[in-house]
């Protein structure tokens, strides 16, 4: 369980995290989602005490990170896979960390096996690909068999097999009752891995809910209809909160009415329909809708070309 209360981080006049409250619960995978510079990493660094909050507090299992007597037993963390001295072997890197908590060499070999690094464990980390470094980072996070696991962009640089491995691992860890928090800007990955989403932008929480709620609240469901008599249909269904528009291909897009409601209205008015389709948003649509205006680094012409389909 991770609990943040009124968490603030300021760098000079720049506010990276702006009075945030959230709770990450055990037994499920929670995803941190947000554009670059939204404050995801800063938030994770504050959870584990590497950055000090300007105000507010964030606790893990009821205590500040540094109050845990054996932190590796409580929290496993991967913040930056490349943050390992390239001159050291993977095995020695893990062994040095394990030594602080009297974790034996057998557990070190176990996590190496778990991460699929057996063949390279004796090699210097400097020669590792980003994917191998991610595996080493995940092995490091699991070293103390912690109840809470925090991973920042764990699938970055992983091959498809590795991505699937991380996904399964996260699901299994959550199923064992652990608290799993991971960040990503890969929407599809989040949609497949996380149960719950915390969407942040410019240091504020934009949404904090289950994946399906986030999608349904942030995107409009649209009903798409084709009829030989569009003008009459649009007049029939017209009302407050109902917007209908004619598309270039002759179809009508209606918001504010479900496919069933449109079909019933058309039937009552004796209008023939060729097609009635309910189109719901994707996580990506939800994300774009939520973070519109919150993106810190936007390519100048992307909004123009992306909005119209």
């Amino acid at each position: 369980m991770i609990e943040a209360e009124a968490l603030v981080k300021r760098y000079g006049s720049k506010v990276a995290v702006d009075a945030i409250d959230f709770t990450v619960r055990p037994g499920q995978v929670t995803g941190f989602l947000g554009p670059n510079g939204a404050g995801k990493s800063t938030m994770m660094r504050m959870i584990v005490g590497l950055d000090r909050p300007t105000a507010g507090r964030v606790s893990v299992n009821g205590r500040l990170y540094h109050e845990h007597r054996a932190p590796l037993r409580e929290v496993g963390v991967l913040l930056d896979a490349k943050a390992v001295n390239g001159g050291r072997s993977a095995y020695k890197h893990l062994l040095a960390i394990a030594a602080t908590h009297r974790i034996g060499a057998s557990r070190v070999r176990e996590v190496i096996g778990l991460a699929g690094l057996e063949s390279v464990a004796g090699k210097r980390v400097g020669g590792f690909s980003l994917g191998m470094s991610q595996r080493l980072g995940i092995a490091t996070a699991l070293l103390g068999d912690p109840a809470t696991i925090i991973l920042d962009e764990p699938v970055n640089g992983l091959d498809p097999e590795g991505v699937r491995w991380v996904r399964t691992l996260m699901r299994d860890l959550a199923a064992e009752g652990r608290t799993v928090l991971l960040s990503s800007h890969l929407m599809s990955e989040m949609a497949q891995t996380a149960d719950r989403l915390i969407v942040i932008g410019r240091g504020r929480i934009l949404a904090d809910d289950s994946i399906s709620s986030v999608i349904s609240e942030a995107t409009r469901s649209v009903t798409r209809v084709r009829t030989p008599d569009p003008e009459r249909l649009m007049a029939t269904i017209a009302g407050p909160d109902i917007v209908s528009s004619m598309l270039a291909d002759g179809a009508i897009e209606i918001t504010g009415l479900s496919a069933e409601q449109v079909a019933i209205a058309a039937s009552a008015a004796g209008i023939v329909l060729y097609e009635v389709t309910s189109i719901s948003g994707s996580l990506e649509d939800a994300y774009i809708a939520l973070t519109a205006g919150e993106v810190e680094y936007r390519s100048s012409n992307s909004s123009g070309s992306g909005a119209h389909k």
Binding site: L50, P71, A96, E110
Partner: protein, 280 residues
């Protein structure tokens, strides 16, 4: 692939880090990098090599009439201390600023969140390993020059008065130079800036102070520098009873211990304050 071979049900035994655990961790780190191991070896190799060359060429150095503790110690300690202090200082810088440049400091502080504990463990491991390497260099230097001096009839044994204390003092000085370096490393966090600073403090500061256009008393402040303390520690102690006389330009070997320990301790303290104050 299975998720976890050991399910959470088998709750792990809590082993909060004790200081010796952190020491072991730092020792594993020191011993698992080519750069740090090479610097430790270099302290031994340079010490032995320079002492050997000085010993071979001793005849040109103005030989004393008979066995002389001072002459022998010059042969044995000058090269060892000169190179040892710089190599040790650089190693000290590397041990901490290297963690910042590589990012390893994150894993270090995640495992042991007490920043003072981490720095203290690093300083202890550094001091012990560097002093051990320096002892090998010092006593090895004595051993390789012994037959060379014996051929000239001016050999001095380890039991001669002041010899042991000078060889040990010189080694401890090299160990303290490493601690000084680690303080600077924690303070500056950059390998390049740290190395430049440690070399300036050890090598340049005494030279600059001694050529200042000031009174001789002010110039004699160079006697309070790190490397002058090293000279004093690696010399046979006088039994004159004077601790230190700046006006007269004299620093006893016990005063040297105090001065060197103060330098190392001061920078370690500044490094600690910086480490505690800043985000990682």
């Amino acid at each position: 692939m299975n998720a976890l071979e050991t399910p959470r049900a088998a709750a792990p035994a809590e082993h909060p880090p004790r200081f010796v655990d952190v020491l072991l961790s730092e020792f594993i780190k020191l011993g698992s990098l080519r750069s740090t191991v090479s610097l430790l070896l270099a302290i031994v190799v340079f010490g032995l090599a320079v002492s050997f060359i000085l010993g071979v060429t001793a005849e040109g150095a103005g030989l004393p009439d008979g066995p002389s503790v001072g002459f022998m110690l010059d042969q044995v300690t000058i090269g060892t201390v000169l190179f040892g202090q710089l190599l040790a200082g650089v190693l000290g810088v590397l041990i901490i600023s290297g963690e910042y440049s590589s990012g390893t400091i994150q894993s270090t502080l995640l495992a042991v969140s007490g920043r003072g504990t981490v720095l203290a463990a690093k300083a202890v491991v550094l001091f012990l390993t560097v002093t051990a390497a320096a002892l090998v260099a010092m006593f090895g230097s004595w051993a390789v020059t012994y037959p060379l001096l014996a051929a000239l009839g001016i050999e001095v044994g380890l039991t001669a008065p002041g010899v042991l204390s000078a060889l040990i003092g010189g080694s401890v000085y090299i160990g303290l130079s490493a601690v000084l370096g680690s303080g600077i490393g924690a303070l500056l966090r950059s390998v390049a800036a740290g190395v430049a600073t440690v070399i300036s403090i050890i090598l340049l500061l005494p030279i600059v102070l001694s050529v200042l256009p000031a009174s001789s008393l002010v110039r004699n402040f160079h006697l309070l520098s790190m490397s002058k303390a090293g000279d004093a520690m690696s010399s046979a102690p006088d039994d004159g009873g004077i601790f230190m006389d700046l006006a007269d330009g004299y620093v006893s070997s016990s005063a040297g211990w105090l001065v060197a320990a103060t330098w190392a301790g001061l920078f370690l303290l500044m490094g600690f304050l910086q480490l505690r104050r800043r985000d990682v």
